[in-house]
Subunit: 313 residues, 2 copies
Amino acid sequence: MAKGERVLIALGGNAMTGPDGTAAPDAQRHAVEAAVEPVADLVAGGVEVVLTHGNGPQVGNLLIKNQLAARVVPPVPLDWCGAQTQATIGVLLLNALQRAMAARGVERQVAVVVTRTLVDGGDPGFTDPVKPVGRYFSAREAERFRALGQNWRSFGAKGWRRVVASPEPLEILDAAAVDTLLAAGFIVVAAGGGGVPVVREEGGLRGVEAVIDKDLAAQLLARHVAATTLVIATDVEHAMAGYGTPGERPIGRTTVAQLRAYAAAGHFGGGSMGPKVEAAVRFVEAGGRRAAITSLALIGDAADGNAGTVIER
Amino acid sequence: MAKGERVLIALGGNAMTGPDGTAAPDAQRHAVEAAVEPVADLVAGGVEVVLTHGNGPQVGNLLIKNQLAARVVPPVPLDWCGAQTQATIGVLLLNALQRAMAARGVERQVAVVVTRTLVDGGDPGFTDPVKPVGRYFSAREAERFRALGQNWRSFGAKGWRRVVASPEPLEILDAAAVDTLLAAGFIVVAAGGGGVPVVREEGGLRGVEAVIDKDLAAQLLARHVAATTLVIATDVEHAMAGYGTPGERPIGRTTVAQLRAYAAAGHFGGGSMGPKVEAAVRFVEAGGRRAAITSLALIGDAADGNAGTVIER
């Protein structure tokens, strides 16, 4: 990317949990330290960076704590769990990015903005929640939480899992603070976990129990800050056509139309690649110059369009 | 206060938990909504407001969850618990303050900055931790956590409680982001819970398990942003001379020397008033015009020097 160009990088929550997937604090820290290396290279090259991040495994752990301690301390709602991860991952990113920049002789300020994202209280996700969060529990344990008003669904032999709304992100509400900090030369971390979901009601905004897809929120933020490029960094190098089938193959440089066709034909299965593809497509359709989906290690090359699944305007 | 003057208001964590003290989410929300009413009045009057907040009961709950779920998910360190509360209380403050301002026909932007506070790794608190956090546990439970390297202390019949370092805050590290947002006209929430404690080491900053007194951090931030006034809002209207004795009496308008003398003579007991008095005194000694300690409801009057325990330069 050219000096002064702006990129929004969305770091995957799974990719930041360490190899065992438990999201143990030290593993998270090491994973974040590795993740920011290519980010610091971009900064050193004069690229303007905005960062966001996922939080799935981290929220999963918080939900378990809520559940196991529910008889002793009041559980906090799902939107609070999301908020919590904005600050914990935010501080990890602050420390790690400043270290990585210092090692390159680069001095830039970094800030983490607590960010709310507006959703529609009438989003179909609220009446028919389908997004599973947290770990599997037994039917008996699930029953206890259903009695508290939560939605739980049986996943057969694996057990029961809580399902929640994952409404469309409509607006990154705290984007004005991001703008102000970017204009002053900060590298900004914002909209972590897709942002804390709030709905507009009589009198003002109110938090709601939901999770927001962080890539769909990322492309909204990318458009708001007029990034030329969106890089969605996850734990695989490419989106795969025919994912999970014997004929699966990596998708490299392609077109918006082709990606949309793959998605419509179900090539990305029910996993997390679908929303990433949707986010990339929306960004370019809305006027973004380039979107790439790739692994953490290849962020730099992908930002230049030379790695991962890439679409351009 | 005059239009355009700047006040830093530190909202007590205990004062924001609701009457039953459990820090249940709805109780926190209602308490925050009440707490911001006088803040919104100040904003409506043209006063420039910077907010910070405590987090003691909230961190207490997070520690319990960590402890009760420790066999299932990895506990997170104490500094992460503090970070978590910056975002949860931050979002409550964002929503509540925007509502309260809207009800007054005032339009101002509000932002929450995730804030780290520098402490010294050689602070005596780290070798001899004395600050109790979280709830009381049995000796057997305490033993399990001592085996993980934590410090726990017997408080006699009440049980065992974890004790941690509460090092001196040296610098509000993310104050530059606060400055930038204030200059752009934002009301800023920062340094929640005293800030996330970090130490400087070879290569950069690292989080440490500690809690920082939020009022000592608040006076640092107040000086940094050149506030004329510091208001420390808690659950009592005044600091009390002879606290806990039959002759206890409220301290109204007084002098720095008198407050220092009360503190030296042990008038504030071992509770949380000592650090509030210390913070107020430091602020005025460092050039601040006025510091007040009072209840949430009296924030406005205290900012004018007409309520609470007040000292002036």
